[in-house]
């Protein structure tokens, strides 16, 4: 206790630099997104009509507030294109997260059952792909899935198909890419809670006559729920805004919101609409984000 008291003052100084940095480069930029989402599109550089300039005095600010417009948001909720891409993002994130949980759980469970010595090796093996470039891993799949790629060659050689199957630019390719990329994010929090579990609990369950399956559903699974929650949030939130994977692996007939935003920004140069799309995406993700924040805080700071 005394340590904390004595450390408190220097620690307070330590916070200044990172605090200012995050306010300046994380919080303030959201203000700009909000501001530009409320302004009009213009063919200019930068391509929007400024909402207000602080340098022009109070009258100008008042005038600017009068000119604020919700047009971009009205466009987003009235145009099917945007509504559909929001829906698609949620569906894709939901489906992929479920698949990830179904695949990730047995893997994490297997890891937690390994002898101690092997657990750290297995964990290392799961972490390594997380460090390897996202783009490279997607590219690796393009190699395999393309028209005359390895997968089609194997399927043809095994006479499972008679003509090459189109894999690229399909939803299955996209789901495969997402599951592949996010699997470590699902496995690691699951493993962390499963490895902490007391083995005596399962022995007790078995002594009391529970079958292994029953013991799993009554003991192991409920105790692993914090890990399940962490893994689900860690996957669901970023997948909803995913851009690279659907862009490279899925077809172009229906877009996820990340792609729509990218398209509005880079291709149509409509910064206000892109900003409004970002604001709506953020609103959509606010609840899971706050939830995740609480979880993370409890995990890192809850020891005290």
């Amino acid at each position: 206790m005394s340590v904390r008291r004595i450390f408190a003052r220097p620690a307070r100084f330590a916070v200044i630099a990172p605090y200012l940095w995050m306010v300046l480069f994380f919080l303030v930029p959201f203000g700009f997104v909000l501001k530009i989402s409320l302004s009009q599109t213009a063919i200019a550089q930068p391509p929007y009509v400024p909402v207000f300039e602080l340098t022009q005095g109070a009258a100008a600010i008042k005038a600017a507030f009068a000119a604020l417009s919700l047009d971009n948001f009205r466009l987003l909720v009235s145009d099917d294109l945007y509504v559909l891409s929001y829906l698609r993002s949620l569906v894709v994130a939901g489906v992929s997260t479920s698949i990830l949980l179904l695949i990730g759980y047995p893997i994490a469970y297997g890891m937690a059952r390994l002898p101690r010595r092997w657990q750290s090796v297995a964990m290392m093996l799961v972490i390594v792909p997380f460090w390897t470039s996202f783009l490279i891993r997607i590219y690796a799949w393009i190699n395999i899935l393309q028209h005359d790629g390895l997968l089609n060659k194997i399927l043809l050689a095994l006479h499972l198909v008679s003509t090459p199957v189109v894999w690229l630019s399909t939803d299955s390719a996209m789901y495969l890419g997402i599951v592949y990329s996010y699997l470590p994010f699902m496995i690691l929090p699951l493993y962390a809670t499963l490895a902490k579990m007391d083995p005596a609990l399962l022995e007790a369950a078995s002594d009391l006559g529970a079958s292994p399956g029953r013991a799993f559903w009554l003991v192991t699974f409920p105790l692993s729920l914090p890990g399940v929650l962490a893994g689900v949030l860690l996957c669901f939130i970023p997948i909803t805004g995913e851009f690279v994977i659907p862009d490279l692996l899925a077809g172009s007939d229906s877009l996820m919101i990340g792609q729509t935003l990218w398209l509005e920004f880079f291709t149509n140069k409509d910064w206000p609409v892109a900003s409004a799309a970002a604001v709506l995406l953020l609103v959509l993700l606010l609840a899971p984000l706050l939830f995740y924040d609480r979880l993370q805080r409890r995990q890192l700071e809850g020891t005290r």
């Binding site: 893997i107 460090w131 783009l135 799949w141 490895a195 078995s206 995406l281």
Partner: protein, 271 residues
């Protein structure tokens, strides 16, 4: 089997093996094909280093790789400094004003979709009329990666025995000295691991860099992305293999660093 409910079953081993195979096979295939002599990506034309020669002759690609390397090294260094300070403040400081906001700002970027982070930073840079290029990308990457560093270092600080610091102060150290003499050497491995993680995350990032960079300063992922969109090129296999090799070196160094620290810190290292 029922008498040993905690014994590893065949199902456990099978799911583990299949999972690892799923994670590694595509990368292994990519590495093997980077040594393919044939121009056709899908036909095996014997072992060859031809695509590596091609890469080293590709001026634009080399420039992009150099740019990425510089951005990764500088942003990782700044991020490690700031992230460590943040971790110390959160785990050793008392409740200060805006602590909830601060930790919220630190944890949110870990999961925040990159399109949002990228767009918002770009709008900031445009608003202040900053010239976009090396520095804007570096600042953007620092903002993202300092959060990862903070989490890695914070989890190490949390598992540390407080009595060591207490002992140092009982022996007459002031808090800063106690931190430098006792705490810092103990969390050093986590700091190194944090730097490495920040470095690889920056090297890897496409979306945030695309938003925040300016004309004429492409990073490697941006360059690779524009090539990949045009189709599979064997040269890309070679570049990817080189990047994987570089990251492998980084991982070995980082894991040697974490091996020095306790197993508990290691279990929290990836996130």
């Amino acid at each position: 089997m029922a008498s040993h409910p905690n014994r590893i079953s065949r199902f456990n081993i099978a799911s583990l093996a299949l999972g690892l195979a799923f994670l590694y096979l595509p990368i292994a295939i990519l590495v093997i094909y980077s040594f393919n002599g044939s121009r056709l990506v899908t036909v095996w034309g014997g072992w060859s280093l031809r695509w590596y020669h091609e890469f080293f002759g590709d001026r634009a690609m080399i420039d992009a790789a150099w740019m990425s390397f510089r951005v990764a090294a500088s942003s990782a260094t700044i991020a490690t400094l700031l992230g460590t300070l943040a971790a110390v403040a959160l785990s050793r400081g008392e409740r200060f004003k805006g602590r909830t906001l601060f930790s919220g700002m630190l944890y949110a970027p870990l999961v925040m979709p990159e399109v949002i982070t990228g767009l918002s930073l770009l709008l900031l840079f445009v608003a202040v009329n900053a010239e976009r290029g090396f520095w804007t990308v570096t600042i953007a990457h620092t903002t993202l990666t300092l959060c990862f560093v903070a989490v890695v270092v914070q989890s190490r600080l949390g598992s540390l025995d407080r009595s060591l610091e207490e002992a140092a102060m009982d022996l007459g150290c002031d808090p800063v000295r106690a931190f430098l003499a006792v705490t810092l050497p103990l969390i050093w491995p986590a700091i190194i691991a944090g730097w490495m993680l920040a470095f690889t995350l920056s090297l890897d990032d496409l979306v945030i860099a695309s938003f925040t960079t300016g004309p004429g300063s492409e990073t490697l992922p941006i360059r690779i992305y524009s090539e990949v969109r045009l189709g599979v090129k064997p040269e890309i296999n070679a570049i990817c293999t080189l990047v994987i090799g570089l990251i492998a070196v980084v991982i070995v160094v980082a894991s040697l660093a974490t091996k020095l620290s306790s197993a508990q810190a290691k279990s929290a290292a990836p996130l």
